[in-house]
Symmetry: C2
Subunit: 493 residues, 2 copies
């Protein structure tokens, strides 16, 4: 029981509780594959099992662990299960988990260099390592953010600050009838771009959606044409977002061509490689990254495909001083905290307080090593190709997008059922439901050219060939069973 005094949990009690949690955690990792990947609750079940107000008396950690097991665990969707292939992967890898544990213990807050020289300098070091691993030139300076949405927001505001005269002083509201800024992204760009445009006061009318080609890649000619038309119509193009690894299919925009358009038009080129960036570690993928090194800013999320628990996104920028000039503050309560000349990044972004996110990334990079990371990412790329080959070899399925990285999109096409498109969507929606219900695999979906697509995203550190094989087996078996039901029902449902 917690002491009734004014103190923290004692170190001795902490030692016992942490040992108990470690046993629980190791058991979780040993047995997670025996759990169903998906959660096992209906809406409201978790809430209803908890009291409506906080009890006055505290509880022991043992009691709390029991409540976690009984109340929370049924409501956990097991992102840390090797069969989790929905959305994008995220791994609570061993070294990543230990990194977070240590981060919380040391509880560094790196707003100034002096409030944590370790956090400030380690962030600089590991983001430099990652910059090298990604094949980027040293002109890119990195900053850790919470997620890709935050990183993309900072890219967009940097573009505004670099392009709109007197942006710090007058913003967008003080421009009267001067040209309104606009931003370009493909129809497959991430939704956070749309959010950023609204948050930053551009209005969603300012977002230009550039069409994609038959491989879901931005068409640079359409980009250039649209930009020219916008200029004629009195708009001020400020940024283009090229995506390396779109969310729906993992497609890769032709960054080199986009960079050329941006250079000619003096527009900020931002590369959203939140998911896809990790593939830059694998030399076979080099051509996908052509031009990326010439962008103005790039986002890569280690909490996606670099085995780091959420949250950690890295924003790389060639011109971070644009943000520093925009966002610097120097309140009296921080004055004099730092010796002159040290790097602190409190002015390079929205946040003042910053947790020691670099520690877990350091642990992950250091534990696996550069070669170990490359091997793992290459393995995921190969698994995705293998799954794509299985899909292609099966006449009951069709692939709906190229596999550029580790996302595979396809659908069942029980063509002899002569289903219309709507009915095919229903068939595949039900197929998805059944695959997810069997508990070994969790997939998500998207829509491509109007069709519902099953979507398999590979990249969890513990996902291996047998997990992908099992997923495919489950998909085929579920499709077969569903087909038989359709046939028994006279091909109607």
């Amino acid at each position: 029981m917690p002491s009734p005094s004014t103190d923290d949990m004692s170190p001795a009690e902490f030692r016992d509780a942490a040992a108990r949690l470690t046993e629980w955690a190791a058991h979780y990792l040993e047995t997670v594959e025996q759990r169903r990947v998906g959660h096992a609750v209906v809406p409201g079940l978790v809430r209803s099992a908890l009291p409506t107000e906080l009890p006055a008396d505290g509880a022991s950690f043992e009691v709390m662990l029991g409540e976690v097991e009984r109340v929370l665990m049924p409501g956990v969707t097991h992102w840390n299960h090797p069969g989790f292939m929905a959305y994008f992967p995220s791994s609570g890898s061993g070294p990543g988990v230990l990194g977070e544990y240590m981060t919380a213990l040391l509880n560094q807050q790196a707003m100034l260099w002096s409030t944590s020289p370790a956090a400030s300098e380690l962030e600089d070091v590991v983001l430099t390592w990652l910059c090298q691993l990604l094949g980027l030139p040293p002109q890119f300076e990195g900053v850790c953010h919470e997620g890709g949405s935050a990183s993309n927001l900072h890219a967009m505001v940097a573009a505004l600050a670099a392009t709109v005269p007197e942006f710090r002083a007058r913003g967008l509201a003080g421009r009267g009838s001067l040209p309104r800024p606009c931003v370009y992204a493909s129809s497959h760009a991430h939704a956070s771009i749309a959010k950023a445009v609204v948050l930053l006061g551009m209005g969603d009318e300012a977002l230009r959606t550039v069409p994609v080609d038959d491989q879901f890649r931005m068409r640079p000619a359409d980009l250039a044409a649209r930009m020219a038309a916008d200029r004629r119509a009195g708009w001020l193009p400020v940024a283009v977002v090229a995506t390396v690894g779109t969310t729906s299919t993992g497609s890769v925009d032709p960054v080199a061509a986009v960079v050329q358009v941006c250079a000619a038009e003096r527009v900020w080129c931002h590369v959203d490689a939140s998911y896809g960036g990790a593939a830059a570690l694998v030399s076979d993928c080099a051509t996908l990254f052509d031009g990326v090194a010439s962008a103005d800013s790039i986002v890569v999320n280690p909490h996606k495909w670099l085995f780091t628990p959420v949250d950690l996104s890295v924003f790389y920028c060639r011109r971070l001083d644009v943000l520093r000039e925009l966002l610097h503050v120097s309140p009296e309560y921080l004055a004099g905290g730092d010796p002159p000349g040290v790097r602190n990044v409190k002015d390079a972004g929205m946040a003042l307080g910053r947790r020691f996110r670099a520690l877990k990334l350091w642990m992950v990079l250091r534990y696996f090593g550069a070669a170990g990371l490359q091997t793992r990412i290459a393995a995921h790329l190969a698994l995705a190709q293998e799954l794509a080959a299985w899909v292609d070899a099966d006449p009951g399925f069709e692939r709906l997008a190229p596999v550029s990285l580790s996302v595979v999109c396809f659908r069942a096409v029980p063509n002899h059922l002569r289903l219309e498109d709507n009915a095919l969507d229903d068939f595949n929606a039900e197929l998805l439901r059944r695959v997810n219900a069997d508990g070994h695999t969790l997939l998500s979906s998207t829509r491509l050219r109007g069709c519902l697509a099953l979507r398999v995203a590979i990249g969890h550190v513990r996902t291996s060939d047998r997990h992908v094989a099992r997923a495919w087996e489950s998909i085929r078996a579920s499709a077969d069973a569903l087909l038989r039901e359709y046939q028994a029902a006279g091909w109607r449902r």
Copy 2:
């Protein structure tokens, strides 16, 4: 050593490594008071001890722990030391650390309800508990954010969305010569308000700094007068930020009066109680919170004075639908993920992906219990009053601000030295340096009415009377020693 395979650290290896880390962590907690609070490095020392690129081969956790001890620990500023009284407190409390450990292990990503019902519903439950503890009515809906800067940004954008017609579509840039929005905060408001105003495209010309009274509280009459003058000059007031617990002194703006002005003017009233909010748990402080329950939005940071490791800020809003309407996105790759009617908060803020921050808050609240939290915060308030009384009783010191919460600002006034103000500042700056150099206490400073003030902020969960007494003893002894040096040097330096 990590396996050369494509797998994660094995569960057995994890068990060993975590046990090793737990032993290290418990030892840290047992001995942290024997460490100097401040770091022990010069700029560049941490960086120079690390390789310039990531080694190809991985390292064992044992090797990494050795590197942490040798390379990082000298660069750690010990925020988790009970003698840390600089800036604002933040506690890596036992239950908070264990909560983060479990959060990383389960690695929940709560963008949709279904991607973690446990995280989605627990967030709702614990923020409801906290809402009750803070004495707020149930109309306030809470969302977890990274920090106070993010929460304040969301408050400001909500105010824009609520006030500026067609804000989602046209933003601020599409308003031509219509009135420009402006925001009001006292001269003692947090710097994140200024950042938010710039980030959101209002331009820093849009920030109105309202004067404070002799207790560093916003003057409501000046607020009303300034707002009227701005309207006459063609501006559009959108928000007022009242602070409960300013950063420099912990002063509390007269929220009830500010709320009245806002209501009359139909302007969004935001209360920044990032630090001070915790005091609402203590009934003696009730009058400080008069009017807060009538605000439109409130931010409280459990990672400050509620014993939760960084990062976790809570944004409470009466009208969260304003943000949902502004920021909702519905990309195809998320469609169909949730059953109808569930609460998810991906559209109530900037972030799509959201880590399971509520788990550590639940652990902290549950472990200490409501009464335990109240006892601890009341103790900190009492310690601050005690320190203030010591300062007041000592003719060699003068207090520079009232102690509304747990921040005490004062300076040494060796008056018989007949020092001019500049020289007094030098004396106090040197005093601060010496107190911090002795290693038992870490203080920060601010400037009040042009004078350098030493600033003691109490609120770490393990800070007790003996730590505050030791801090005061150190301050007095250092001042005495410095005074003798001044006298020996003929009262000149």
